[in-house]
């Protein structure tokens, strides 16, 4: 599987080894001057395959490439290098909600958690570089909406958001849809079973629905 690497592959290896930050195909092509992005991409695939079985691996995270140690070598490295940030329970939940629902407003996060989110929680996530303000929702009050960053994907070893654990199942079972939508969908589905017209959902009932929905 391993043949002598060509010049482009060698240059890419050297560049990504030396780089202090992950690099996109475009940045690599630009750095190497006269390389075509398509050639760079192909060469990266070859390199990634070569490194797959080694102690160091070449991975793509959020369209940016970097070298990192193989996950199964963690035990030899972990002992003196526990440098990962510990997140509070609120922090991990808010991060997951943003990642699975992005872009999402603070009110939407709170309606899922049933509790107010302290400003500090979002600050910690933004300071870690995992979350950013991704604009504003064009609804009254124009609330800020939050999304994850390429650093988030990099840190958690995700090639893209499609890699989020279980996201396909969550989507398929409607667990990423708001309660109102899910309720409405259920009523439509069960229309024949539950023929009681009084059960027709009304959007405005939200407030009555639940005391903790802030």
């Amino acid at each position: 599987m391993s043949t002598r690497p060509d010049d482009l592959q060698r240059a890419l290896e050297a560049t990504l080894f030396a780089a202090e930050e992950p690099m996109s195909v475009e940045a690599l092509a630009g750095h190497l001057g006269d390389a075509e992005p398509a050639e760079v991409r192909a060469a990266l695939q070859v390199l990634a395959a070569h490194y797959e079985e080694r102690g160091v691996q070449l991975v793509e995270r959020g369209k940016r490439w970097h070298f990192q140690t193989a996950p199964d070598c963690a035990h030899v490295l972990r002992r003196e290098r526990e440098q990962v940030r510990r997140l509070s329970r609120a922090g991990t939940e808010v991060l997951a909600i943003i990642a699975y629902h992005e872009p999402v407003s603070r009110a939407e996060i709170e309606s899922i958690r049933g509790v107010q989110t302290s400003g500090g929680t979002l600050d910690v996530l933004m300071e870690a570089g995992w979350v950013r303000v991704a604009g504003r929702r064009e609804t009254p009050g124009r609330p800020a909406i939050y999304a994850t960053t390429p650093e988030f994907l990099q840190h958690f070893g995700l090639s893209s958001r499609r890699d989020l654990p279980g996201i396909d199942e969550l989507r398929a079972t409607g667990l990423l849809d708001p309660v109102d939508d899910a309720y409405e969908a259920m009523m439509t589905d069960e229309g024949e079973v539950d023929a009681d017209p009084d059960n027709s959902p009304q959007g405005l009932e939200n407030k009555k629905d639940f005391p903790a929905s802030v």
Partner: protein, 268 residues
């Protein structure tokens, strides 16, 4: 764990060391800590209680969940622990929900108790899904914990070099302008056609000698003079007229300000 990821019989706490809070407390004997600090709000407490039913969240018994919650809050209150308002509001709402659920359907208010219970269940499912996703996310191979980046990267450097641009014409033109700008300035007055005061005096006196009638000043000017000369002649002739008036050789008349000026000879 069920295929759709809704079961919580696998202890979440074992999956990651990032998980703190009540979920990491021993949960097998159903003995809950009687404190609320550990929960992220009443919904979180409800979800925890629901998990203890050890069934799919879709088939939990809302009624028994309500009982458990109310019982928990009762005991917490009995222990005189400080109760957060949110938990008490939730308790009151759940008590209302329970009584509604026990009523015959036709006596229920809108929305129906079944709808409220279903919505509560949907909310618990969603929070449960996110709680589990958070745990799975934290359990991934994380940089700095499971995988590591290069310890001492050489770094990439881009040296910017300026290539200055200037062409031959720009160079020569710049020199020309320096020379032109700094060359000693010589001021020359262009030669202009003028009528001197002397010639105007001669001309006006001579013409006054011809008649005793009033004559407009313009009539003393050379008839076909170009505009420059004409303006000079007008000025000189005016001064000549004043001079002749001063010497008592002519008189001047003007009926209105800026009106035509006329003069005639005073007979000697």
């Amino acid at each position: 764990m069920s295929a759709d990821g809704l079961m919580f019989d696998a202890p979440v706490a074992d999956e990651t060391d990032d998980w703190s809070g009540p979920a990491s407390a021993p949960a097998d004997d159903g003995a809950l800590y009687l404190e609320l600090d550990g929960w992220e709000g009443p919904l979180d407490l409800l979800l925890d209680l629901a998990r203890r039913q050890k069934v799919d969240l879709r088939s939990i018994s809302i009624l028994s969940l309500v009982d458990q919650y109310l019982d928990y809050i009762d005991r917490a209150e009995a222990l005189r622990l400080e109760m957060a308002a949110d938990y008490l509001v939730m308790a009151a709402w759940l008590a209302y929900l329970k009584s509604s659920l026990l009523l015959p359907k036709e006596e229920q208010d809108e929305p129906s108790a079944e709808e409220l219970a279903l919505r509560l269940q949907l909310r618990l499912q969603r929070l449960g899904a996110m709680r589990e996703s958070a745990a799975r996310l934290m359990a991934r191979d994380r940089i700095g914990r499971d995988v590591f980046l290069r310890g001492a990267p050489e770094g990439l450097r881009i040296d910017r070099k300026t290539q200055w641009k200037c062409d031959w014409y720009g160079l020569v033109q710049a020199y020309g302008q320096v020379k032109a700008r700094t060359a000693p300035a010589i001021h020359m007055v262009r030669e202009r056609p003028v009528m001197t005061l002397e010639s105007a005096l001669d001309r006006v006196s001579a013409m006054l000698g011809v008649t005793l009638d009033w004559m407009a000043l313009e009539e003393f000017l050379p008839p076909h003079a170009e505009p420059g000369l004409r303006r000079s002649a007008l000025a000189s002739s005016f001064v000549a007229a004043l001079e002749l008036a001063r010497l008592g050789k002519a008189e001047i008349e003007q009926e209105a300000t800026f009106g035509p000026m006329r003069l005639r000879r005073i007979p000697a």
